[in-house]
Every structure is written in C-alpha cells, then in structure tokens.
C-alpha cells in the first residue's frame, strides 16, 4: 500500500484512503426479494454520508437479492458499493465469473469473505460449497488483478482493477492467532480491512499493537468496525448469541442505566465516543459503521462524529 502509492482500482474508497482521509463506510443489506424501491430508500438515506457502502452477500445465510445486483443498483444511484462475496455459495468458477461480471457493471471494491455457515440462515438444509476460504479467494482475485491469470493459470481478457478488502475479527479465538490471520489476508491480497464490531476496546487496542508491531498498518488500510447498540436488549442478545462478540459489562450497565426510550441515543453516544477514541489509535484509517437495520441513523452518526462532509477526491 503506502510503499507503492500506485492506485489499484481508482475507486472512491481507495482515493479517500490514499489522500490521507479517514474513510467512512456503512452496510447496506439488500432486500429479501427484488424490492428495488426498498433498496433505493436505503441508498437515499446514506448518500453523501459515506465513501462507499458494503453490500452484503446473503448475510447470516438468509436469502436476499444478490450482492452483485444490489451493488450495481447502488452504483447507478450514486453510492459506491463494496460488493461482499462469500465462498459459502460459489466455487472458484462462479467466484471468478462473478468478479468479472461485477467489474463489467462498474463495481470497483470487493470484500472477500468465507461467509456465515448456512446453519444460521433460512436454508439450514442447503448444501454448502466452501471450495476455498476467504484467504484463498483473496489470493485468487489478487492474482487476476496483478498477474492477469485465473486460478487455473489461464490468461484474463481485459484488466480487472479492483480494490480488495477482507474482514478481521480481533475478538474471536485463539486471540494470538487473530493478528496472524489478518496478516495472511493482507499478504494474500487485502488492500483494506474492516474489523468485526468493536466493544472491547482494551482487547482491540492490544490487537492493533500486535498489528503495528508486524507493520500491518502500513500494508493495508485498517478500518474499525462499529455497531451502535439500539437498546440494552440488543446488547444482551448480541453478547449471548453472536460468536466472537463480547460486550463489556460496563457498556451493558450504561445502557441499562437510562430509560428505555433514551437507550438508542445512549447507544449512539457510546458509538461516537468509540470513534473519538479510535481516531487517536495509530493505524486506524477509517470507520465501518454497521448500523444493523438502522441505516437512517448513518447521517446523524457521521455528522456528530465530525466526519461530514465526506471529502471529494479526484
């Protein structure tokens, strides 16, 4: 990354990073069907407040509009997409084909994931694919971009100038391996990283220190993932049911300490405080705000965090 300042894709997100700004992304979940109007409403909510928006790929293995289709609609409507792609549902033939298709539709950022196991979705009886994992996917798409070869070694017709990203979860186990896994993703081809949502700041800072010690913050743009909590109920639910997420007791107490109707505002305040704290963390190059089914709050969070207006980069 910073060693060679050569632009990989020319995407808005990449330009914002390379111009030295703190980048802002959010999540935009496609509808559970072909309801384009619903998607367009979400797009209008976030337009102008983020540098790009992640378009999830059947997240938690629940069937939704394809991330390619929804990403193309985002692009047509003025929000740059970060198309997510999981290996759960497609083998290397489909993944490479979808990459070409996405690029042809004007999509310039792609986040490479393995994907949630279908057990968590609405088709737990489906057969999964997992021909490769997220790291192998990164390596494959980077080879397509940088060497012009598909996985078999055959040449690619025409270039694919994409900006590739990966997820990192500093809160899963074994802790000491989490940073090594992020390093593997960066070496395989991740230009940027979006972390799992951060609540345990102590552990996150420890993770970042390990990342800096390995020089990873200079090899990829690391974005801190944040999810504002709507209520103490949501906090308790996530703590209990989402693997790899631990919400410290102090946060739960703080939310429980305010009346129900003010908990959402308290959740946003916590999120804003996290952003302020993380602005000072060396190696953090932006924020990935995952407001789950709460996209309407993105403008407010971005503005109150002092991250608005978003930079116009050429």
């Amino acid at each position: 990354m910073s060693q060679d300042n050569g632009m990989k894709s020319g995407s808005n997100l990449e330009k914002v990073f390379r111009a030295g700004h703190l980048a802002v992304t959010c999540e935009c979940g496609p509808p559970k069907g072909a309801d384009v109007e619903h998607l367009k409403k979400k797009i209008q909510m976030i337009k102008g407040y983020v540098d790009a928006a992640n378009v999830t790929d059947n997240q938690t293995a629940v069937v939704r509009m394809s991330s390619i289709g929804a990403s193309a609609i985002l692009a047509q409507n003025g929000v740059e997409p970060v198309m997510q792609m999981v290996t759960r549902d497609r083998n290397r033939i489909a993944a490479q084909s979808d990459l070409f298709g996405a690029y042809a539709l004007g999509i310039r950022n792609m986040l490479c994931l393995t994907g949630d196991h279908q057990k968590f979705g609405n088709h737990p009886f489906a057969k999964n694919v997992f021909d490769m994992d997220s790291i192998q996917l990164l390596n494959m798409v980077r080879t397509i971009r940088d060497e012009g070869k598909v996985n078999s070694g055959d040449p690619v017709e025409g270039g694919v100038s994409m900006f590739f990203g990966a997820a990192a979860n500093p809160f899963a186990d074994p802790f000491e391996f989490r940073v090594i896994r992020m390093a593997k993703k960066i070496h395989a081809g991740a230009d940027f990283i979006q972390t799992q949502c951060i609540y345990d700041m102590v552990r996150f800072k420890e993770f970042m220190k390990m990342a800096r010690d390995m020089g990873l913050h200079e090899k990829a743009f690391i974005m801190a993932g944040l999810t504002p909590l709507k209520s103490v109920g949501m906090a308790r639910y996530m703590n209990r049911n989402v693997s790899g997420i631990t919400i410290p007791e102090a946060i739960i107490k703080r939310l429980a300490g305010v009346p129900k109707e003010r908990q959402a505002e308290e959740g946003i305040r916590i999120c804003l405080e996290q952003i302020e704290e993380l602005k000072e963390e060396r190696g953090i190059r932006g924020f990935h705000i995952m407001a789950i089914e709460w996209e309407e709050k993105i403008p407010e969070i971005v503005e109150r965090a002092g991250l608005y207006p978003r930079p116009a980069v050429a």
């Binding site: 759960r88 290397r92 393995t114 994907g115 949630d116 196991h117 057990k119 999964n128 997992f130 021909d131 490769m132 994992d133 790291i135 192998q136 390596n139 494959m140 996985n151 997820a167 979860n169 809160f171 899963a172 186990d173 074994p174 391996f177 090594i180 896994r181 390093a183 593997k184 070496h187 395989a188 799992q196 693997s243 790899g244």
Partner: protein
C-alpha cells in the same frame, strides 16, 4: 472406520410390505464396532420385524445372518447363493452404503434395502461416541496441520485458520459439542514447536482426488495386473 447409525425401525418396516421371505444381513466389520449393524443389531432388527409382522397379521419369514465384510466377494458370494437357494425375496443390509451397493450389483432381481444411515469416517472417542475425523478427500494435507484435519473437522472446511466463529475453543455451528478444529490445530502446532508454519498460505485445494473429479477407484497394480494376466477378468 466407517460410522453408521441405525435407520428408524418404522422406515425399514415400510420397505418390506410386499415381501414374504426377508433376510436381515449384518456386517462384521465397521458397523459392528460402532454398534449399528453387527450380529447383535441384526438379531434385534429381525426380532423387531417378526413382532411387527405378527402384530399386523402379515405372514412373512425373517431370516438373519452376518458376514465378516459385505464389501468383499469372498464373504458376499455365499450370501448370494443362500438367497437363491432359499428363495429369499428381499434383503435388509445393516452394512454401510458400500454393502448395499456391493450386494445390489451382484444379487439380480432381489431388492436390497439399507438398514443404516452411513454417516462418516470417524473414531471412537469415548464409550458410545464416534466423531468425524477424515473426509476421504484423496489428497491428505494433515502434514501441514499437525495431523489434525480441517477438511473433515471444520464446519466450513477452512484451510487457513479459524473463522470469526471460534469462541473458547468451540465451533459456533455447534458450540455445545464441536471443538473448533483450528483451535486444536493451533494448540498442537504450538506443542510441536511449529506455530510459525501457520503463517503460510495453504493454496486452493485440488478437489479432483476427492469426489469432485468423478467416481474414484483405487488400483494396486501388482495384484490387479496379475489377475488380469491370469485371465480372471476375462
């Protein structure tokens, strides 16, 4: 070994409405060890069927037998002769799926029904418990992973370390019962002083030697050719 679980009794009973002389055939190898389809289970199923038939007023004879292996002609040919000799009109085999196929390929116009569900290649980790340990992928990579297989034992078959669903040593897909295999590999590599190897990228796997390359066969040339030359295959 190959692990199997008994099929529900009512399902097996449902296969047999049209038959009058039924052979329940156990297998003396894998399914005996995992207590799904050996001699004891064959006896149990045969008596269950007899009771069920007599309760329903169905006239049928249920015979039982168990051979050493149903995946080998040496043991299967005598069964085929018996089926012919005694006019048996249906076989329920308690062998793994290999046994069902092996018999069906050789038995002619007699139906062979499965009495077990074949599940996986596993080991007996404690009394009464078998766990999956090999996926038969045809190109073993456990030299890279401390002898522990992530293809068989990771819910997502990941080859480059644990996903975000590894928590306190357990897999998010079944946190009560399934250990995160990448936690196990991590501990094992640490124990072996090989932790640094986990930084290496394991590239995309060639799945041809697994089922994805088509139906597989295994040849021992020195024996195979010998038989061919002697005319046994002609």
């Amino acid at each position: 070994m190959i692990v199997a679980d008994p099929k529900p009794f009512q399902q097996i009973r449902g296969f047999l409405e049209d038959y009058r002389k039924i052979l329940v055939l156990g297998c003396g190898t894998c399914v005996t060890v995992c207590l799904a389809g050996g001699e004891a289970q064959a006896e149990l199923l045969a008596s269950g069927l007899r009771i069920s038939f007599s309760k329903d007023g169905k006239e049928a004879t249920v015979l039982e037998d168990t051979v050493q292996r149903q995946c080998d002609e040496e043991f299967v040919l005598p069964v085929l002769e018996r089926v012919k000799r005694e006019g048996i009109d249906a076989v329920v085999t308690l062998a793994c799926g290999v046994g069902v196929n092996f018999l069906s390929d050789r038995i002619g116009a007699i139906p062979v029904f499965p009495g077990v569900n074949t599940t996986f290649y596993g080991g007996n980790v404690e009394p009464g418990l078998w766990s999956e340990m090999c996926a038969g992928c045809g190109d073993c990579i456990t030299h890279l992973t401390g002898g522990i297989c992530p293809i068989a034992r990771c819910s997502k078959h990941l080859l480059n370390g644990p996903c975000g669903g590894s928590e306190k040593g357990m897999c998010e897909v079944d946190p009560q019962n399934t250990e995160c295999v990448w936690q196990l590999i991590y501990e094992r590599m640490k124990l072996l002083g090989r932790l640094h190897e986990m930084q290496n990228l394991i590239p995309t796997k060639d799945w041809r030697p697994a089922m994805d390359g088509g139906v597989r066969r295994s040849v021992r040339e020195h024996i195979f050719r010998l038989q061919y030359k002697s005319g046994a295959g002609a």
